[in-house]
Symmetry: C2
Subunit: 208 residues, 2 copies
DNA sequence: CCCATGTGATACCGCTCGGTATCGTCCGAT
DNA sequence: ATCGGACGATACCGAGCGGTATCACATGGG
């Protein structure tokens, strides 16, 4: 279950590289990438700037590695959810939404690391951008697959709608109260599934 | 030098303050707040750093003013949409969604200025944060009002769902193709309205 | 035993940042 | 004609940044 949000930090038993990544995760998420200097990361990790450069080429590489880890965590969680409901794609999708919904408080009013990093890295050639895009692509592919397996007539549209909801919910974390966001998110996703399942008039055309 | 980047080089007829705000809008939106220095803004506005400080207390004040203008633009657009469908709240909501959907390409792969700024300003006491929060609160209040007027049984939930969709769609702008995002967004919002109108969609409880 | 390696500490470099001070100049109101 | 306020240009400041160089030490495998 990984170290919880309020990290005890500086467990000297951990090798420096892990401490650096832990510190980076904390600071990048709470303060933003550009606000955080390597000095601050080094101090939080109980080491020095030089140690960081012994393990990472540049700061950008550290950022990319951080996001790679976050992506892997999400990936693993999705694997778990998928395995919990084998052969039941609708349950998998809901489990996935529930995972996000339950994780919202842990974001502590700072939204999704990927979305935030996107805002801070307008450069599409930044190494971290590729990590994000690959992750999003994988996630979307997976979601589309689940929707297709669930027999939804338009799995791509359904997946896109669910993605909107998931990301919108994470953004909403950043202002106001989080209390109801999780429940609201679950209801949206349920609604999307219901609507895509039932042919109950696929809503009128928008062309107006 | 690079006086002309991609813009029709602000003509000198505009007063400096407007030129500065125009330049700030461009650069803040495309590069991010923290990546852009006052020097760059001054150059793009065809003036100097000193001129900026004659019109704005600090850089943070300039950022806040920029977001205030963006918020006013949105507000005005919402007024327009509302006036186009007097007494027809559902049409107003759809018109609102359409306004966002049609505006997506204009964001040119850089998402919503508010969401991006949120990511770059973790400090809740930052003057720009208050602008954002007030704007979001107003927008939500307005949307809830429309949903209530439309006779939806749970206007707050409906408004929250629509907000998820709107923000999620804007985030989705940042990676991949925009082509279908607008259409998808419209369909989600239509779906949300339909489901909230018809009792058939109450569906199961989320508690499990 | 000894040396290579990884580590912590410190000092430093060049650059850019937000912000300030100081000029000379232009222009419009009086 | 003049005078004051806004303007453009430039130089500067202290601070922080990413990144580099150097040195001392500790430790563990040959």
């Amino acid at each position: 279950m990984a170290s919880t949000a309020s990290r005890p930090s500086r467990v000297a038993t951990l090798p420096p590289r892990e401490r650096i990544l832990d510190a980076a995760e904390e600071l990048f998420h709470h303060e933003g990438i550009r606000r955080v200097g390597l000095q601050a990361i080094a101090e939080r990790a109980g080491t020095t700037k030089m140690a960081i450069y012994r393990h990472f080429e540049t700061k950008d590489a550290l950022v990319a590695e951080w996001l790679r880890i976050v992506a892997a965590d999400y990936q693993a969680a999705f694997d778990r959810v998928e395995a919990e409901h084998p052969g039941r794609p609708a349950e998998q999708i809901l489990g996935l939404a529930r995972f996000i919904a339950e994780g919202l408080p842990r974001l502590s009013h700072r939204g999704c690391p990927f979305i935030n990093s996107l805002a801070e890295l307008p450069d599409r050639s930044h190494p971290a951008r590729q990590v994000i895009e690959q992750h999003k692509a994988r996630q979307t592919r997976r979601l589309v697959g689940m929707c297709a397996q669930a027999g939804l007539p338009d799995p791509e549209q359904a997946a896109a709608e669910i993605t909107f909801a998931l990301e919108g919910a994470q953004v909403s974390t950043q202002n106001g109260s989080i209390d109801q966001v999780g429940d609201r998110l679950m209801r949206v996703v349920e609604g999307i599934l219901d609507r895509h399942r039932s042919p109950s008039g696929a809503s009128r055309s928008t062309t107006d």
